[in-house]
């Protein structure tokens, strides 16, 4: 059996999305900036996509700017807020400890340029506390950027509350909603969101395309020079097939959100229940406030990459926050932010599902994973000590 349980990394593009994209390669291939008919056909597709995405988020089309993905949207939103802030001598930025690196690395860069970065705690549950944000806000706060849902452990942040606090305080509120869009109902107006990043490939759209929502009234600086595209803010001929695919994917998944959510939550619950029976295991992140599809466990005494290799040999694709898979020497900053010790964080396993997964697949994981854990523990000197109670 082949089980793709890594939907938080990326998803399969749906057939409907591919069908929507294909004409944009061969029939509607014009440049939307061209005056002629073929160009204008492409311009119509482009604006139709913008409008579709706007409807899914309750945003105006003119508030949406297409990007190469979530990372670019995060970079743009944060650097933009920094430019606006600096003009008013505001150089304080609030974020959280477990943001995606697209956010954290951009903040590191700003810190070197003289900005003061304050990262809120997420505690053992993986949740930002609104009262912490309230206490952190200052006269010189230029931006608050908090992710909508965490990509490694799936916890959902109290976005409407955080947004309201920022709005009341007159501070720009950005959310990296890459992991949430298409999976949770998002209304930028009701939830007091000023800026939002999204990425198509997390909801069965193509890779390499995303969008930045920027609320009307918030000045947006030019991010890429070189043309009048995206209202002069981001030059470069638009990636029409991918943008059309993104809109088709978001429309499709938004229509079926409740149904998908019920199905995927049922898969998650089955898996969490089964894996909780493994001794010395723990579910990472709050049990209730989580995305339907992400399950992240730590299994003490073993290391994540070894688990991944054994699962892969049985056809199961998952991921881990161990150092060995992060490409650095430290385990995942998300798991460390929860207060987990390094040695436990090394034994993490993330399995993430979409509506394409089945109960049979989850049963297969439940059958195959515990013996892998047992096998690795049987050769682990750390497990020996844990069993002896040391």
């Amino acid at each position: 059996m082949k089980v793709y349980a890594d939907n938080a990394a990326t998803t399969a593009v749906s057939k409907e999305v591919v069908d929507a994209m294909l004409p944009c390669f061969t029939k509607i291939y014009g440049n939307p900036s061209s005056v002629h008919t073929i160009g204008q056909e492409a311009a119509i597709e482009l604006e139709a996509a913008r409008s579709t995405i706007g409807k899914c988020l309750n945003a105006e089309p003119r508030e949406l700017f297409f990007t190469s993905g979530g990372t670019e949207a995060d970079n743009w939103a944060i650097q933009n807020a920094a430019i606006i802030g600096a003009k008013k001598n505001k150089r304080h930025i609030i974020s959280s400890r477990f943001e995606h690196h697209a956010v954290l690395h951009t903040l590191n860069k700003l810190e070197k340029q003289g900005f003061e970065i304050q990262l809120l705690e997420v505690y053992s549950e993986g949740l930002v506390r609104p009262e912490d944000l309230q206490a952190a806000l200052r006269e010189d706060t230029a931006l608050v950027t908090i992710m909508y849902a965490n990509n490694e452990i799936g916890t959902i942040q109290p976005i409407p509350l955080l947004g309201k606090i920022c709005r009341d305080h007159g501070v720009i509120f950005h959310t990296d909603a890459v992991q949430a869009v298409g999976h949770l109902p998002i209304d930028v107006k009701e939830q007091f969101i000023d800026m939002l990043s999204l990425s198509a490939h997390k909801f069965h759209g193509p890779k390499g395309v995303g969008a930045l929502y920027c609320r009307k009234g918030i000045p947006l600086n030019v991010f890429i020079e070189g043309g009048a595209q995206e209202r002069g803010k981001r030059g470069g001929t638009e990636n029409i097939p991918s943008i059309v695919g993104m809109a088709a994917a978001l429309e499709q998944i938004s229509r079926k959100m409740e149904q998908n959510s019920d199905k995927v939550f049922a898969l998650q619950n089955t898996l969490i229940e089964a894996l909780s029976a493994v001794p010395h295991s723990r579910l990472n992140g709050n049990r209730e406030k989580r995305l339907p599809g992400i399950v992240n466990f730590c299994f003490e005494g073993i290391e994540g990459e070894a688990m991944l290799l054994m699962l892969d040999a049985l056809g199961i694709c998952a991921s881990s926050g161990s150092a060995c898979t992060s490409g650095s020497l430290d385990p995942s900053h998300v798991l460390l932010a929860l207060g987990l010790p390094h040695e436990i964080a090394h034994g993490s396993l993330r399995m993430s599902f979409s509506e394409y997964n089945s109960k049979e697949e989850v049963d297969y994981i439940i059958e195959k994973l515990p013996p892998i854990i047992q096998r690795l523990r049987s050769m682990s000197p750390v497990w020996e000590k844990i069993e002896r109670g040391e």
Binding site: E303, G304, A306, L309, E343, M379
Partner: protein, 137 residues
């Protein structure tokens, strides 16, 4: 990151996993914070490694390097085992990705630590350069 066929074979079918209850020398190196611990058990008869077992906490490369190391030193004299380098472990595994080189270093150190333990128990000789420290930071 791709592992060689030999690494995958030693990871999936590790040789000499386990413990030796009446070991003549035991070496444990690395630490759980770094994500790798290797523990090597040696049985030594007439200055020859007659049996060797290992327990490892770590990634695929760490387990494969431990397994290969036990094969490389089994049946060798203590002096020959002391000559084992991390480079030899890597060559035997048909290479390791650069971020995994430390796994082969750990394997070399585990052997030295086990022999050091053997010397301490038997004739108080110490192995020059034996270390039980963590090399990852």
């Amino acid at each position: 990151m791709a592992y060689s066929k030999i690494v995958m074979d030693h990871f999936e079918n590790p040789r000499n996993v386990g413990k030796i209850m009446d070991a003549d020398g035991i070496g444990e190196v690395g630490n759980a914070v770094c994500g790798d611990i290797m523990k090597i058990y040696l049985k030594i008869d007439n200055d020859t490694i007659s049996d060797v077992k290992f327990n490892t906490f770590g990634c695929g490369a760490a387990i494969a390097a431990s397994s290969m190391t036990t094969e490389l030193i089994k049946g060798k004299t203590v002096d020959q085992a002391l000559q084992l380098t991390n480079k030899a472990v890597m060559e035997a595994l048909d290479g390791l990705p650069p971020v995994k080189h430390h796994c082969s270093v750990l394997a070399e150190e585990a052997v030295k630590a086990a022999i050091d333990d053997y010397y301490k128990k038997h004739d108080n000789k110490e192995v020059c350069g034996a270390s039980t420290g963590c090399t990852c930071k």
